[in-house]
C-alpha cells in the first residue's frame, strides 16, 4: 500500500535514500521513487550542445565594436583639433618671421587644396570602412 505522498518522495530522492529506507517502502512507493530518481538524473544532465567553440571571441569582438565608436569619436576630434591648431600655428609663425610668407602660404594651400582634401577624405574613408567591417561581425539585432 502507498504510504508516502509526492512531497515526501521528492524530499527522499533529493536527500538520497539509504538501502534501509528503500527496504521499508511499499512496492508502489518504490516505483514512484525510481521514476523520481530517473527524472532527477535527467534534469541534472547538461544539454548535449553548449555555446559555440569561439563564443568568448565573439563576445570580445562585439564588445570592442561597441567601445570603439566612442573612442573613435574622441580620436577624430583630437586629430581634427591637432590639424587645425598645426595650420594656425604654422601660419602664425610664418607671419611673425616674414609677412610675405602669409601670402605664399595661402597660395600654396590653394594650389595643393585637392591633395589636402583628398588626404583628409581618404583618412576618414579608411576609418569608416574599419567600422563597417567590425559591425558586420555583430549579430543583426546588435547593429
Amino acid at each position: 500500500m502507498k504510504k508516502l505522498n509526492d512531497d515526501d518522495i521528492q524530499k527522499l530522492v533529493a536527500e538520497g535514500v539509504t538501502a534501509q529506507q528503500m527496504e521499508s517502502l511499499s512496492a508502489e512507493d518504490k516505483i514512484d521513487m525510481e521514476v523520481y530518481q530517473l527524472l532527477f538524473n535527467e534534469l541534472e544532465k547538461e544539454p548535449e550542445e553548449g555555446p559555440s567553440f569561439y563564443f568568448s571571441k565573439k563576445v570580445n569582438i562585439a564588445l570592442q565594436a561597441q567601445i570603439k565608436p566612442r573612442s573613435s569619436n574622441q580620436f577624430y576630434m583630437t586629430v581634427g583639433l591637432i590639424f587645425t591648431l598645426s595650420i594656425a600655428a604654422a601660419i602664425g609663425i610664418l607671419i611673425l618671421i616674414d609677412k610675405n610668407y602669409q601670402t605664399e602660404f595661402v597660395a600654396m594651400m590653394i594650389s595643393w587644396k585637392w591633395i589636402i582634401l583628398f588626404g583628409i577624405a581618404w583618412f576618414f574613408a579608411i576609418q569608416y570602412a574599419d567600422q563597417k567591417m567590425l559591425m558586420s561581425k555583430l549579430p543583426a539585432h546588435r547593429r
Binding site: F55, S56, R142
Partner: protein, 188 residues
C-alpha cells in the same frame, strides 16, 4: 584557477584578457539558463552575448554581497525575460497557468519521434512548460543554485520557488511514468 576577486578589478579596468576568462568561466551557466527559456540555440547564443556585454558594462555595480555566478545568472534571467516580453512570445505568460491542470500538446508525429529518446522527451516536456517552472527547474537541478539564490536571481519568494519546483517535478514525473509504461508495453 578562476579567482573572481582578482578577475573583477581587472575587467573593470578594461582588461580584455581577464574578461575573456570570465566569459569562459560562466558561458555554459548563462547559455543553459537562456536555452531552457527560449528553446532556440542561435537565439540563446545571441542573448548570451548581450548578457556578457551587460556584465562588462555593469560589473562595477557588483558589490560582492552574493556569488558572481548568482549575479551573472540574475542578469541573464532579466535580459531573457525582457527579450521574451518584447518578442511577445507565447513562451512568456505573466501569470502562470495552474500546473495541476496543465495539458501538454497532443501527440503528433514529431512528438512520437521525440518519445523514442527519454532525455529528448523530458526536454520536450520542459520546453512546453510555463517559463516560471522551466526557470526554477533549470536553476535548481542543472545550475545547482540553492532556493535562496533562485529567489535572488528571479525575485520570486522562496516559498513560490519551492512550490514551482515541487509541482513542476510532479507533473513531469506523471508524464514520465506514462512514458515508461508505454515503453514497457512496447517491449512486452
Amino acid at each position: 584557477m578562476f579567482n573572481e576577486r582578482e578577475i573583477i578589478p581587472k575587467v573593470i579596468n578594461g582588461d580584455f584578457k581577464a574578461f575573456d576568462q570570465l566569459v569562459k568561466q560562466y558561458e555554459r551557466l548563462v547559455y543553459y539558463i537562456i536555452l531552457k527559456l527560449v528553446d532556440h540555440k542561435e537565439e540563446a547564443e545571441d542573448i548570451s552575448q548581450e548578457v556578457f556585454i551587460k556584465v562588462y558594462n555593469s560589473l562595477n555595480e557588483f558589490n560582492y554581497q552574493s556569488k558572481l555566478s548568482t549575479w551573472i545568472a540574475k542578469v541573464a534571467y532579466s535580459i531573457t525575460i525582457n527579450h521574451l516580453k518584447k518578442s511577445k512570445s507565447d513562451r512568456f505568460t505573466e501569470y502562470p497557468v495552474n500546473i495541476d491542470h496543465y495539458h501538454f500538446t497532443a501527440e503528433n508525429p514529431e512528438q512520437a519521434m521525440i518519445e523514442k529518446d527519454k532525455s529528448a522527451y523530458i526536454n520536450h516536456l520542459i520546453a512546453q512548460m510555463p517559463y516560471q517552472y522551466k526557470t526554477v527547474l533549470t536553476l535548481y537541478h542543472l545550475n545547482e543554485f540553492s532556493y535562496q539564490e533562485i529567489q535572488e536571481i528571479t525575485g520570486m519568494p522562496e516559498g513560490t520557488v519551492k512550490s514551482y519546483l515541487f509541482r513542476g517535478r510532479k507533473l513531469l514525473k506523471e508524464k514520465l511514468e506514462q512514458y515508461l509504461k508505454k515503453d514497457t508495453m512496447k517491449l512486452s
